[in-house]
Amino acid sequence: MKARVILKAAIKSILKSRMRSLLTALGIIIGVAAVVVMVAIGDGAQLTVEEQIASLGSNLIIITPGTSSTGGVRGGMGTFNRFTLDDVEKIKNEATLIKGVSPLVRSGGQIIGGTGNWFTQIQGVSEDYLEIRSWGLQSGEFFTERDITAKAKVCVLGSEVVENLFPDEDPIGQQVRIRNVPFKVIGVLKSKGQTAVGESNDDIILAPSKTVLDRLSGGRFISSIQVSAASSDKNSAAQAELKSIMRESHRLEEGEDDDFTIKDQSDIAEAATETSRVLTYLLASVAGVSLIVGGIGIMNIMLVSVTERTREIGIRLSVGARASDILVQFLTEAVVLSLSGGIIGVLFSILVTYLINNYTDQVAYIKPQIVAIAFIFAGAIGIFFGFYPAKKAAALNPIDALRYE
């Protein structure tokens, strides 16, 4: 028989038992769509995390006080030799493989200004900080080295702070009181969205490090040192250089352990992607379950119709069909059904991800290989359960197939 005749016969047969075909295809449609959408949501989340990590600053290196043992467990954090501005000064003067360095002095508190008050974190940093983090300004300007030396009471607001304190007016030039100390607003940061670990990068106020140390945190210790390497391929060399500068600065003897930890993005990225990977696995297993449920549905429908189909096979055999004719027919039917179910499933999942991307703040991203895997798996289930009973029936004597109950 010609391929065209076989295909035509298969399609005819599918249309003849509409309900059975529909239910079979439905199993495949739901299976494929569920897998693709679930994994797309997981991959979308991972993609978002990766983008955010990239936005941390391309060559960011962070030095924090305290040792980190080889196993990654941090011990004795902040118990000895905390950082001071002297460490920063020494790096600034001696390091050759860096573009910029900034202390990070963390503080927080009540901000009063504009329309009301707001509680947020204040970071004391240097003039290099914007470049180190690859952040941009929405308006106004950033403070300069002179502002820092002069301990000027100026600040730059994150966009969320602006939304809350100055919803209707331009904050530049206005005054805010941070823990009762008046600061002049000179700039507004561009909105950046959430960090990889979920806190907002926009709910923040930046001020000169020395001003914050003097007026707000009250002391001489800084939380961490933020450095940007000259370029990404100099990253590890820069880390080695920073290590020796820091050891010298803290007067560590040969053989003594570091009392600080140097981390770059890849460490941070790892922790964050780990979280989103767990999410992806979770979603994928939910999807896998729905694929199995769909598969069981297909199996049930196919097995229920075995009696009817075995009689059909008996009739065909009795008028002279060969076993191979029967197999080709049923295989073609199963393939056509699975393929069309698979295609509809994929189209459906594309529609759903489109809706997710446009009408929710989730991001969904369809990877082609997931489509292929779902397609092949659902197809294999459909084909197996459409084909296997037919193979058994075709091996019977025609009279036994006709008598089958």
Binding site: M1, V5, A9, K16, S17, E308, R311, E312, G314, I315, R316, L317, S318, V319, G320, A321, R322, A323, S324, D325, N397, P398, I399, D400, L402
Partner: protein
């Protein structure tokens, strides 16, 4: 003497049901020639269907040999068996065995689909011709559930005819039909037989067997009687008689 179509030599069939062996056919020797019209009779369980299934190559014998149109079928492989069913045999079942949700025309075309010799080019035309012979051209686009029992059986007979078989085998073709419709089917068989087609059929009723030209009787898996009928009944006349009677009855 006409050409020999069927010859069985010590043909036997034993069904195995678990441990128990059921001997359904015991060493049957039988010869049927071209253009014969044979009725097989016998009590229920005497092995009529078993014999028919073997003659129709729907089942394989346990022992003995079966020559169909000069070919020793016991030497054939499965695919050749399928070809024989397709080319040489038209089988009519008691329960019609039509494909459901499939039109009469498509049902009749079915054997042509599996005809590898491709001797018939226009399947459509050929199937319509077969339906013409059984007088059902006006119902060819109907599916079995839209047809009466008699009409369904005529579709099945058209399907048996479509490949120009050497022989038509019918196992209780009128078993599911009322007497008038049954006589109509025998009319059709007599007509086909008159055109030279060999027919072997099973029937329970002696009255119907008289439409044939030869009666074979089975008992306990053995052929116990084999006789020619000197003067067969004419189904056409019988049909007219019944119809007249029923008109009288209605008055």
């Amino acid at each position: 003497m006409n050409k020999e179509i069927i010859r069985t030599v010590e043909l036997s069939k034993i069904y195995k049901v678990g441990e128990i062996e059921v001997p359904a056919l015991k060493s049957v020797n039988l010869t049927i020639n071209e253009s014969e019209f044979v009725a097989i009779m016998g009590a229920s369980g005497s092995g009529k269907s078993t014999l028919m299934n073997l003659l129709g190559c729907l089942d394989e014998p346990t022992d003995g040999e079966y020559f169909l149109d000069g070919v020793n079928t016991s030497k054939l492989i499965k695919n050749e068996y399928a070809s024989i069913r397709n080319q040489k045999i038209g089988f009519v079942f008691q329960g019609f065995n039509l494909l459901s949700r499939t039109t009469a025309l498509e049902n009749v075309e079915l054997p042509l689909m599996y005809d590898r010799s491709e001797r018939i080019k226009d399947h459509h035309k050929r199937a319509i011709e077969a339906l013409e012979r059984v007088g059902l051209t006006d119902r060819m686009h109907h599916i079995p559930s839209q047809l009466s029992g008699g009409q369904q059986q005529r579709v099945a007979i058209a399907r048996a005819l479509v490949n120009n078989p050497s022989i038509i085998l019918a196992d209780e073709p009128t078993g599911n039909l009322d007497s008038v419709t049954s006589v109509e089917v025998f009319c059709l068989f007599q007509q086909l037989n008159a055109e030279g087609i060999t027919i072997v059929m099973v029937t329970h009723e002696r009255d119907f067997a008289m439409f044939a030209k030869r009666i074979i009787e089975m008992r306990d898996g053995k052929k116990v009687k084999d006789m020619m009928i000197k003067e067969s009944m004419n189904a056409q006349h019988e049909l007219e008689r019944i119809l007249n009677e029923s008109i009288v009855y209605e008055d």
